[in-house]
């Protein structure tokens, strides 16, 4: 019926990124320069324990912290045709993609999952800035459509975490066409009266901001996130003047009426649960860390999963295909 309806059965997900660093490593805060234990930083959701600066976080780490018990199942995203324009700048586009896949151990720049937060079933999508700047191409478009369709099928809200430098130039006009495509996806949610919450994270710019990231029922941004259509450098070149401090940052957008809230990442989960449950007319949430939900088909991955070799590309796709294709119970 629908070209995008091939959904994968819930399956195991690793809790942590496969390129987890050894715990004796230090990271330097981009905000205050403090050296932070990597483990300490991870436990604090990549927010500096000294100054509160929000550093980037991968979709997998975010979901591990977001979903009850760290359990979620990935929603399958249809793979688009590869390199539709045969794009080549100083590198070939397929080579750039492969390099990004190797360095992130992810297939593409968006992860879609379903699970429960505070016992509230949701679908979530998160953009991965570490994958080619989170850029929006056919895959990200497919991911948002898959997320919206899954949310409509299950009658659940969609929570989307945006992070992107803009459109994927290497897909030319087809990347631009993700603006109307993703807008169609958001229309599906609206027509089903399902809450759509956008969490704008650093940075959210260009065509991404000018489509699904600005069409939420509720807009929440992480502190100091850069959120804009045209970047500060382009504007400075155009108007030939220096922009004020904090221009196009989350707090500035809040002041100018473009956001509902600016919320610290560490408080975000509770806030999402609270807002969603009110919109859904559910009773107030039970606070605190919740154990994994009693879902027979999902299993918490062992924490030792981090030991997997960093070089292996994320095998999610193959596993997923095998599950949906040759499930003996099906």
């Amino acid at each position: 019926m629908n070209w995008i309806s091939n959904y994968v059965r819930p399956r195991i997900n690793s809790l942590f990124s496969r390129r987890e660093m050894p715990e004796n490593l230090w990271s330097k805060c981009d905000g205050c320069g403090t050296m932070l234990f990597h483990r300490e930083l991870t436990e604090n959701l990549n927010v500096c324990t000294n100054c509160g600066h929000h550093m980037g976080i991968t979709p997998r780490k975010r979901f591990a912290a977001l979903f009850d018990g760290g359990v979620f199942s990935e929603v399958k995203v249809p793979t688009p045709i590869a390199d539709p324009l045969h794009f080549r700048d100083q590198k070939r586009y397929p080579d750039r993609l492969k390099a990004a896949q190797r360095s992130t151990a992810e297939k593409e720049a968006m992860l879609v999952a379903e699970g429960e937060i505070g016992r509230t079933p949701i679908v979530a999508a998160a953009q991965d800035f570490s994958f080619m700047g989170g850029s929006m191409g056919m895959y990200v478009g497919n991911a948002i459509i898959a997320a919206a369709e899954r949310a409509v099928t299950l009658g659940r809200p969609l929570v989307l975490f945006s992070a992107a430098g803009g459109a994927r130039m290497q897909e030319g006009i087809l990347s631009l066409m993700q603006m109307p495509r993703t807008t169609v996806a958001i229309e599906m949610l609206k027509e089903a009266n399902l809450p759509y919450i956008v969490v704008l994270t650093h940075p959210t710019t260009g065509g991404v901001t000018a489509s699904y990231a600005m069409l939420g029922d509720v807009h929440i941004a992480e502190p100091n996130a850069l959120i804009c259509f045209a970047g500060p450098r382009v504007i400075e070149q155009t108007i030939r003047e220096k922009l004020p401090e904090g221009f196009q940052r989350a707090e500035y957008l809040l002041d100018h009426g473009m956001l509902d809230r600016v919320t610290d990442r560490r408080a975000l989960r509770d806030e999402l649960v609270s807002i969603l449950r009110m919109l859904l007319k559910e009773p107030p949430p039970v606070k605190g860390d919740l154990p994994k939900p009693d879902l027979p088909e999902t299993v918490v991955a062992p924490a030792g999963d981090a030991a997997a070799p960093a070089e292996t590309p994320q095998p999610a796709e193959q596993e997923a295909d095998a599950t949906s294709g040759k499930d003996p119970k099906a």
Binding site: L176, M179, R181, M214
Partner: protein, 320 residues
């Protein structure tokens, strides 16, 4: 006075020489230069045909931006009757980069909306070179809503380098305005047809061109980023715009193959700027055809078809 593009320089020389000869003949009685001038004319015509036979993507960008190309205002004045501009977003201002209002096309009332670049220094500044601010998109949203309410088809004429990258534009929510305009394009239950008449610059174009039917003039372009912008980001050298224009596949011909453009409107030899009336007439005919294709479709079908068209995009790529 013809405005020549850099690649038209040899043509300018020949046409200039022919013109010079004729001017000399006019000044001195009895002097006959017609044979010689006629030969130059034929040479120029051959050269024009050769130059335009296979324009490179970068040359197409230049033609699409040609200052003497007909602009939105020219099309509205020539093709529509009773054009009644409607101004303002009812919130902040009227954006002169966006024209729009009620008009009749072949007697049928429609809502026409488009970007206007201006045609001299004064009007270019007034029109902000066709770069709209949030109030421009919000005006378009208002006009699309009105058209939807009164069951009038919407025609959009797209010609913009992109949305304006300015301080005020960002403060007033450029992103939100573009997102809402695209959303409105997808919501209205009336026919929406769009013509890219010059430059289809990124999100600023999508906000108007998310339509049931999208036509592109033969030498118009439609792209996610300008070749100069792409070159400076990916080649780290804005002078590599020729390479970037090539790689971006932004021509009407490539976009038709990708399904983004539904039809290509042929331009007069040498581009729309060489024969403005003919170009305008072709656009008028295409608008009539596209509206006819959508006649009799219910509001529901129009919305459904439009959405499905965008969901389906990207199924096929281009040949290497």
């Amino acid at each position: 006075m013809t405005n020549y593009l850099d690649f038209e320089k040899p043509l300018a020389e020949i046409e200039g020489k022919a013109e010079e000869l004729r001017a000399m003949a006019r000044a001195s009685e009895g002097m006959d230069v017609e044979d010689e001038a006629g030969a130059l004319d034929r040479k120029a015509a051959d050269m024009l045909r050769d130059l335009y036979k296979d324009l490179t993507p970068w040359r197409k960008c230049q033609v699409a931006r040609h200052p003497q190309r007909p602009h939105c205002r020219d099309y509205i004045e020539a093709l529509f009757k009773e054009y009644t501009p409607l101004a303002g977003d009812r919130n902040f201002a009227d954006d002169h980069a966006v024209m729009g209002g009620l008009a009749r096309l072949d007697g049928r009332p429609v809502m026409v909306i488009g970007h206007e670049k201006g045609n001299d220094t004064k009007s270019r500044i007034e029109r902000n070179f066709g770069m709209a601010r949030p109030e421009g998109y919000r005006k378009a949203i208002r006009l699309m809503e009105m058209a939807d309410k009164f069951d009038l088809p919407v025609i959009t004429l797209v010609d913009t380098p992109g949305a304006y990258p300015g301080k005020g534009a960002e403060e007033r929510g450029q992103s939100e305005a573009i997102a809402r305009s695209t959303e409105k394009c997808l919501q209205i239950g009336v026919p929406l047809v769009s013509v890219i008449i010059g430059e289809g610059g990124s999100g600023g174009a999508v906000a108007f061109a998310t339509a049931n039917r999208v036509a592109m003039l033969e030498h118009s372009v439609y792209s996610v980023i300008s070749p100069e912008g792409c070159a400076s980001i990916l080649w780290k050298d804005s002078e590599k715009m020729r390479e970037a224009a090539e790689a971006l596949r932004l021509t009407a011909q490539d976009l038709a193959k990708l399904g983004v453009a539904d039809r290509i409107i042929k331009e007069p030899l040498g581009g729309a700027q060489r024969d403005r009336e003919a170009a305008i007439a072709s656009v008028g005919a295409a608008l009539g055809d596209m509206l006819k294709e959508l006649d009799g479709k219910s509001a529901k079908a129009l919305v459904k078809d439009r959405r499905q068209k965008y969901l389906d995009l990207g199924q096929k790529g281009l040949a290497a």
